[in-house]
């Protein structure tokens, strides 16, 4: 037994070593850079928290981006997570063709963003777009607008494309999680006369506690880092209405070569994610 106790840390070594070298070190470096003014070359000037202060007090675009990311998180948790769970539960039932349905919902997740951006811009295009043909068909022409040019709704239009593309991943995690739920639990409950809804809320959801941690964390992180879909569909416009922290960070770092400000945005992003995710994880993984 003593030998077993000693070797148990060895299980963590390969993963932790690579992880620290490749991920943690650059993360710390970025945190460190956020305290400097630096263009990537030449002299670094220590400026303390100035980069952070400027972002929060002076930077209009940063504020819009921050707000958009928070909206995006809420939309993702409410719509993407719920729909993914629903699909997983339905597609976990035994019926003919479920493999095909699963593949259909997962398929968009494999496509490259460059193609998704093009196709969804077509869908929203009032001249050739599918959406407007549909409205026409339903005699709702008056609702037709230039979808992606409306600052108030552009973000939501982009989100729908992201929902379509991203549903496959959480669905897959829920499916994997559902495999871990012992059948006996359902059988026992059914004997007790519980209905479908009761089974879902009293067995499925609690049994998926650990899967929810994965889904919640990955979705929150993905929402906070959302970049590609916005870049290919609206490039942050119109009038910055779809700007996100990741796209703004990219501009600051690589277009404006303000590495300090870019790193500060990255650090703020990480901090926000931690504030949202860590309490949830701590709560969910509490030992009984």
């Amino acid at each position: 037994m003593l030998k077993q106790k000693k070797t148990r840390y060895l299980f963590m070594v390969p993963a932790m070593l690579i992880y620290c070298a490749v991920v943690v070190a650059p993360a710390l470096y970025s945190l460190f850079l956020s305290l400097f003014k630096w263009n990537g070359l030449g002299k670094m000037t220590f400026v303390g928290l100035t980069n952070y202060v400027n972002l929060f007090t002076k930077d209009q675009v940063f504020r819009i981006a921050l707000k958009n990311n928070l909206i995006w998180i809420i939309l993702t948790i409410v719509f993407t997570m719920t729909l993914a769970l629903l699909l997983a539960v339905l597609l976990n039932r035994k019926f003919r063709g479920r493999v095909v349905y699963r593949a259909i919902f997962y398929f968009p997740y494999m496509l490259s963003w460059v193609v998704i951006g093009i196709v969804w811009r077509w869908i929203y295009n009032p001249n050739i777009g599918f959406l407007d043909e549909l409205l026409h068909f339903l005699h709702l022409e008056h609702l037709s607008i230039v979808w992606l040019s409306e600052p108030k709704i552009a973000l939501y239009c982009v989100f729908i494309a992201a929902l379509w593309q991203g549903i496959g991943q959480p669905m897959l995690y829920f499916l994997a999680g559902l495999q871990g739920v012992p059948k006996e639990l359902y059988e026992a409950a059914e004997v007790d006369g519980a209905n479908k809804a009761a089974l879902f809320f009293h067995i499925t959801i609690p049994q998926l506690k650990e899967t929810f941690v994965i889904v919640f964390a990955t979705l929150t992180i993905a929402s906070m880092k959302v970049y590609d879909v916005v870049y290919v569909m609206t490039n942050g416009g119109p009038v910055n209405s779809t700007q996100t922290l990741a796209s703004y960070m990219y501009s600051q770092t690589f277009s404006y070569t303000n590495l300090g400000t870019g790193s500060a945005i990255a650090s703020i992003m990480m901090l926000i994610m931690m504030v949202i995710i860590v309490p949830y994880v701590l709560y969910s993984t509490k030992e009984d």
Binding site: M12, I18, V22, R102, A103, F105, G180, A217, T218
Partner: protein, 276 residues
């Protein structure tokens, strides 16, 4: 029995409707992949097929886009990286859930934080270090980096699944004199096929599609993987839509095959894992 049939019909109708919505953009991609640029510029609708299907878009994407070479590079990286990643992450998750390590929750959160780092910000330090070590333009640097960035997600998947497996399993095994390694290899992993399947699918997809790190770390054209290869279909301001869509459809074949191979491990619940 009647109720069951009604339910079945409702299930099929609902799912089919939803699936159709999901398929519309996919069909657009497929239709586009057999159109020529002239078809676009003549203002052809999204759901019309041209009279002459341009299958040569696929051929051109393969030959001119050199997808064969990029596919080979991508496969080499994936086939070395994904198994290693799954192995390392599952070992870590095993230690975190079943070996009674102190502060295992804090360690888990430590691993989680890595996912939160925007990859763009890591580009500069990674490029600096790799170029000092003369590791740019090698598969090794890609594999190491991708393992690092893939570990948090894979660890989460395994940790979540392992945590759901009953503790009684371990106790029984320990009584039989199982060591840590045997417990991992002969009891836990065989039960975790759904977790392995989703980890492999997700990790493969991430590795296959990653291009930001790759575009910086690999400057030798013959070492590039697929996503960067696809970029050659872009003009300075314009895109050949047909060619691009054909290229994308070819490029997802390996991922789709991996998905199909592993998805069969999602089979409606484990039975008999808990006895008594």
């Amino acid at each position: 029995m009647k109720q069951k049939t009604v339910n079945q019909i409702a299930l099929y109708t609902g799912l089919t409707l939803l699936a159709l919505i999901w398929l519309i953009p996919v069909i657009t991609v497929m239709f586009t992949s057999v159109k020529s640029s002239a078809d676009f510029f003549s203002g052809m609708g999204l759901f019309e097929l041209p009279e002459e299907l341009q299958w040569r878009n696929y051929r051109n994407a393969w030959v001119e886009g050199r997808l064969g070479l990029y596919l080979k590079n991508g496969l080499i990286v994936c086939f070395i990286k994904v198994p290693l990643s799954v192995l390392f992450a599952s070992l870590l998750a095993f230690a975190l859930t079943r070996l009674g390590i102190k502060h295992s929750r804090s360690l888990f959160i430590f691993v989680l934080v890595g996912m939160m780092l925007p990859q763009q910000i890591a580009l500069i330090p990674l490029n600096l270090v790799y170029s000092r070590l003369h590791l740019t333009n090698t598969y090794l640097c890609l594999i190491l980096t991708y393992i690092g960035f893939g570990i948090p997600l894979a660890t989460m998947v395994f940790r979540g699944f392992f945590a759901g497996l009953p503790k009684e399993l371990d106790e029984a095994a320990r009584i039989d004199g199982c060591g840590n390694l045997r417990l991992y290899a002969t009891i836990i992993m065989p039960l975790s096929k759904p977790a392995i399947a989703s980890a492999v699918i997700m990790d493969f997809l991430y590795t296959w599609n990653e291009f930001m790190l790759q575009s910086v770390l690999i400057t030798n054209d013959s070492m590039k993987t697929v996503p960067n290869g696809l970029l050659s279909f872009f003009g300075e301001f314009t895109v050949d839509y047909g060619l691009l869509n054909a290229g994308v459809l070819i490029s997802i074949l390996p991922v789709f095959l991996i998905y199909l191979m592993f998805q069969k491990y999602f089979v409606s619940g484990i039975a008999g894992a808990v006895k008594g």
